[in-house]
Structures are given as C-alpha cells and as structure tokens.
C-alpha cells in the first residue's frame, strides 16, 4: 500500500529530524573526528628532513634546490657537529672546495641512511653533469601510491563508513525495540498493511540519512583546509555505499529483534560496532596493522565498505573492483536479515 509506505516514511523522518541527540550522533560526532584527525594529521608526510650545512658550493646549492631538505646553516663546522652529536640534527654537510663531507649521527639508522643516500645521490648527479657525458643509466623515481601520503584521503572514507554504520545500526535497532515496547508494532499489525511498507519505509529513511551524512562529510573534507581530492571513479563508490547501508541496517534489525529494551539494544549495538570501527581502518590505515589483524578484519562488513569506498573515492579503481565489496556486503545483508526475521517477534512476550 503506497499511502502506508509514504506516511510511515514521513513519520520516521520527522522523528529523526526532531531528535537532537540522534542528529548529533549522526552528523556532528563523526564530523568532529573528521575535523580533529584531518587537522592533526594534515602535515604528516610532507615534513622535510633537516640537515646542517657549513660552507657552500654546488652541492649545498643543489641540496637547497632539491626541496626535500631544510638546511640549517652554521658559521663553524664545530657548532654544527655539536648539534648532530646532541641528536638535534641527523647530519651536517661540510663543503670545502671540491670536498663534501657528511657527518651523521648513527643513533637513528633510518635517518642516517636517508641523509647519506640523499647527499651522495646529489653529489653523484653533479659529478655526472661535470663530466659532460650523457648518463649511461637512466634513473627515475615514481611514487606507487596516488597522493595517499595525505591522511585525509583515507580518513574520509573511514569516518564516512563508520558514521553511516553507527547511525544505521542504532537507528534500526532502537526503532524496532522502541516500537515493540511501546506497542507501535502492535498498532501496525492491527492495521491492514503488510510487512513490506513498514520495512521499506525504514530502509528508505536510513538510506536518506546516510546520503545526507555522506554529502556532509565529503563536502567538509573537500574544503581547502582539509584538501580531499576525489578520484575520477568516485561515483562507483555509490553502489558500495548503498550495499554497506543495507548491511548495517540488517545488523540493526538483528540487534532490535534480539533485544527487549533500548538499553540492551544500545549495549549490543556498541559491542557490534566498536570493535569493527577500530579494526576496519576507520581511524588509521589497516595496512599498518599486523598481518593476522588484517585477516581478522576481513570478517567485518565495515572493512569491506571502507575498502570499497576508498577504492573508488580516492584510489580511482575501475568497475571490476565493485564485485568483491558489493558481493560481500549484500551477501552479509541477506544472511543477517534472514536470521533477524527468524528471531523477530511482534510482541514483548
């Protein structure tokens, strides 16, 4: 019945919009994380290596022009060496005439290696140029990741997926429990309508809210201060996004079918969503986690939603990459919905 579907959807949308606490947790709370982490990690990966410099010449000039180091000049070599010894600088380049000496601190081996490679590389380039012969071996460095050095690129899909997951699970679960406890379900059951308009109206409201969330989060991340850049295939993230919303809606239905009170439903929803949020790459790239944890996280729908949205929103993958995340999420939806329908009761007792 079309009238029933529409009026239920309107009623649910009004309930949602008029509840300040729900609005806060759906929109403001995830946005806070996006803003805080976005600003906090904004400069990570763009920080330059510091290097002491004494004297001058072609090598020092080339280092300065390379743009990858920040040179700190010293009037005497001894003053610079003291700083290196204190651990304030990874090394100092002393250029006197045609001799270039790099004095480095071996305490931080990674940094020592970096500065050695850098200084020797530049010196060798200059040597080749000075010899007047063309270089025999051609060497080029190309970055394999897109611009993923910028944290906003993984933060946005992560927080977007997480925020939508939380809202969908809690919204569906609390509505179901609340309606059962308050006998709204009984009232619906006494009306000449089927389950379809009840369920679809709730799904439509959940999807509508999720779209509003996505527009807000992506919109804010696109602001110059955060600097998200969307990949060319960003629109392919929409099917992943919708499959994800359905998966979390079904989890909410299962929680709501099991729990008899709102308190129990809140607790159960937290138990489901919180571990997922931490282990699915919401707040940090899951690639940094140990192997076994990455394997464990593959059972979570949030991981697949997160990966899927990231693939298209910022990595620019092609349509063939849709299959895995959408397949997993929709399969998950079917299984969980089936269990929920078995557990569901209209009445409290």
């Amino acid at each position: 019945m079309k009238g029933a579907f529409k009026s239920l959807a309107v009623a649910m949308a009004k309930s949602f919009v008029r509840d300040r606490a729900t609005l806060f947790f759906a929109f403001v709370f995830p946005l806070m994380f996006l803003v805080i982490f976005g600003l906090l990690f904004r400069d990570i990966g763009t920080e330059k290596i510091k290097l002491g410099a004494y004297g001058d010449g072609a090598v020092i000039t080339a280092l300065e022009r390379s743009g990858v180091v920040e040179l700190e000049r010293f009037d005497t070599a001894a003053a610079g060496e003291a700083k290196v010894r204190d651990g304030d600088l990874p090394g100092i380049v002393e250029a006197t005439g045609d001799t270039v000496v790099l004095r480095f601190a071996a305490s931080d081996q990674a940094q020592a290696g970096t500065v050695q490679g850098l200084v020797s590389g530049i010196t060798q380039q200059l040597n080749v140029a000075a010899s007047g012969k063309p270089a025999k071996y051609d060497f080029r460095a190309e970055q394999v990741e897109d611009s993923s050095l910028k944290s906003i690129q993984y933060l946005t899909p992560g927080i977007l997926s997480w925020g939508i997951a939380v809202t969908a699970v809690f919204g569906a679960a609390i509505t179901l429990v609340n309606w059962r406890r308050k006998q709204v379900l009984r009232r619906l059951r006494l009306a000449p309508i089927g389950i379809a308009p009840i369920l679809t109206s709730r799904v439509v409201v959940t999807i509508g809210v999720a779209i509003a969330q996505a527009l807000l989060f992506v919109g804010v991340a696109l602001l110059p201060v955060f600097g998200l850049t969307l990949a060319g295939t960003w629109w392919l993230s929409i099917p992943v996004f919708l499959s994800g919303v359905l998966a979390f809606f079904s989890i909410g239905m299962l929680v709501g079918a099991f729990c008899k009170t709102e308190e129990a439903a809140t607790g159960a929803a937290n138990i489901v969503v919180l571990p997922m949020a931490f282990l699915s790459g919401t707040f940090f790239p899951i690639d940094l986690a140990p192997q076994w944890l990455q394997a464990v996280s593959k059972v979570f729908p949030l991981r697949h939603m997160n990966d899927g949205v990231t693939d298209f929103l910022v990595r620019g993958k092609g349509a063939e990459a849709l299959l895995l995340p959408c397949g997993v999420l929709l399969g998950f939806t079917l299984v969980v919905s089936f269990i929920a329908s078995r557990v569901f009761t209209w009445e409290e007792s």
């Binding site: 019945m1 029933a4 309107v10 009004k14 309930s15 008029r18 709204v184 009232r187 006494l190 009306a191």
Partner: protein
C-alpha cells in the same frame, strides 16, 4: 453458533494459560451490534488476555471466537479495518504531534487526513492538534489513543482500561467521549477495574475474577438480583436509635459518632415516614452497587 450476523462478537468457552496460570479459564459470552459491553474485575482477573484473544492478537488454547462472523486468529487483513483497538497510551510515534499521529494511522487504513481533524474534535483535542504527543497530559494521551483507534471508522472498538490512572476530572471527560462513540452506533467492548464507571456506562457487564466470568447482565439487573437492602443515613441526633428502629420497614439500625444508618428493604415507606417527621437533614440513600455484587460473588471486598 451461526447467529453471528446478529451478534458482533461470539466468545465460546475460551481458555488461555501461561505456565501454571490460567489467565482465561472457560469464558463465553456474546456482544450485540451497537452494544456497550464492559468486562470488569480486579487487576489480574484475565480481562486483558480475553480482550487480546477477541482482537485476534493471541490464539486461545481452547475455544473459539467469532468476530463479525470470522475467526480473528490468525491475523485476517480483511477484518482489520472493521475493528479499532485502543492500545496503551504510549503507542505513538516519537516526536510527532497529535494531528500527525492521527494522520499517520489514518494513512495505514487508506483514510485521508481530513478524518484526523474530526477525531481530534470528537475527543476534545482540537486545541492540542499541534502539540507533540510527549507534551500531552495523561488524560489527553488516553483520548488521543482512543482517537487513533477510531480514525478508520471501525464497527467494533476495543478499549483496554481507558480510564486507568486518570484523575477524576479526566475520567469524567473520557466518559463523555465514550458516550459520544456509542452514539455513533459503534459496538464497544471495554475493560475497567472501576465498577462505578461500568455501572454508569455499560449496557451489559461481565464480572471476571481469576479467569472466569462470575456474572453477566445489565448493571441494574445484577444489582437487583442481589436483593440487597437500601441503607439510609441521617445526621447524628436527628433521630434517636430507638425511634429509628420503630420506623416502618426499618430492619436494622447502627450509629457512629457522625451518623445513624437504617437498613431497609422498603425504602419508600421508610422515607415517607421520615418526611412526615421532618427529619430529612443530611439524608443519604445508598442502594447496592456492583461492588456489593462482587463481594457477594467472590466473598471478598472489591479491590481494584
């Protein structure tokens, strides 16, 4: 029984147990079209369970129900528009106004929003149309709840303790609403634990206790059948106890510090005698009520 064209509801020997508790233990009655039928009894008497079986929400362990000629269980979609069920006063959508609640429920039955205004008028909530459900008083919520049960213009209305937990003024307001519903020709089945209220409102009442119907008739017939004496109370000092006992028809005289009570089976003669003596100051006549009927049937004082 095939007489369901005449009767709105036929309940035939229904039973329902929850574990060891026999909530409904062999209940039978019929309700006519347009009748205001009351099921009364204390809390835990089985009223609500009986009502839920009649509404088709629960299946009886044994026995049958015919609602407008059809078995209401399992859920019959064709029957649903013809019955209206008032639910507990919190069965509303969150954060919606009184009008929005009614419009939403009306739409579930394919009824347009115009009905909402009419129902608000009927239950006297027109000025609260734009008030959110959680901002209404207890009595207003009860009335809204009844309006929701009526919004699709059903033939039979089930009301489960509509006046419970209301203050006396709110109860009386609700009585007016219930009378107005009856005037629309609806069949009303309603439960209450207020015996006085049932006496005023109902055409017939079934008195229930511990899952069984103890008596079923019009309130007046039940009281009459009790054959209980009338009790006439006078101010203390209007008459001596000896004089009172000598009056025609006086069966028994008791006195306390404030009043003197004469029990009689022929109140007309006794009242005439009192009028002749000019001793009618502060006079009260109390005849038997349904509470006395309950006491008589169960041997216990009625406690709601």
């Amino acid at each position: 029984m095939t007489s369901s064209d005449v009767e709105a509801i036929v309940v035939d020997d229904i039973h329902k147990s929850y574990g060891d508790l026999r909530a409904v233990d062999g209940v039978s009655f019929t309700v006519d079209h347009g009748e205001f039928f009351g099921i009364l009894g204390p809390n835990g008497a089985g009223k609500t369970t009986a009502l839920e079986i009649m509404e088709g929400l629960r299946e009886p362990d044994r026995g049958s129900v015919r609602l407008l000629g059809t078995d209401p269980f399992p859920r019959k979609v064709a029957l649903l528009p013809r019955i209206g069920v008032q639910l507990q006063a919190s069965a509303f959508f969150d954060k919606l106004t009184a009008r929005e609640q009614l419009e939403t429920f009306a739409a579930l039955y394919g009824v347009g929003p115009a009905r909402a205004a009419e129902m608000l008028e009927l239950v006297g909530l027109t000025d609260k149309a734009n008030t959110r459900e959680d901002k209404l008083s207890g009595g207003q919520r009860q009335r809204l709840s009844i309006a929701c049960a009526l919004v699709h213009d059903p033939d039979i209305v089930f009301l489960d303790e509509p006046t419970a937990a209301l203050d006396p003024q709110a109860r009386r307001n609700l009585w007016d609403v219930l009378r107005a519903i009856r005037e629309r020709g609806k069949t009303i089945v309603y439960t209450t634990h207020y015996l006085d209220e049932a006496e005023i409102l109902c055409d017939r009442v079934a008195i229930m206790d511990r899952g069984k119907v103890l008596a079923l008739d019009t309130p007046a017939a039940l009281v009459r059948g009790l054959d209980a004496p009338a009790r006439i109370t006078l101010e203390r000092g209007a008459l001596t106890e000896a004089d009172a006992a000598a009056l025609p028809g006086a069966d028994e005289v008791t006195a306390d510090e404030q009043s003197l009570t004469i029990t009689t089976r022929i109140p007309a003669a006794l009242l005439t005698a009192l009028a002749e003596r000019g001793t009618l100051d502060g006079l009260q006549v109390r005849t038997a009520t349904l509470e006395d009927v309950f006491l008589h049937l169960t041997g216990r004082e009625y406690r709601a």
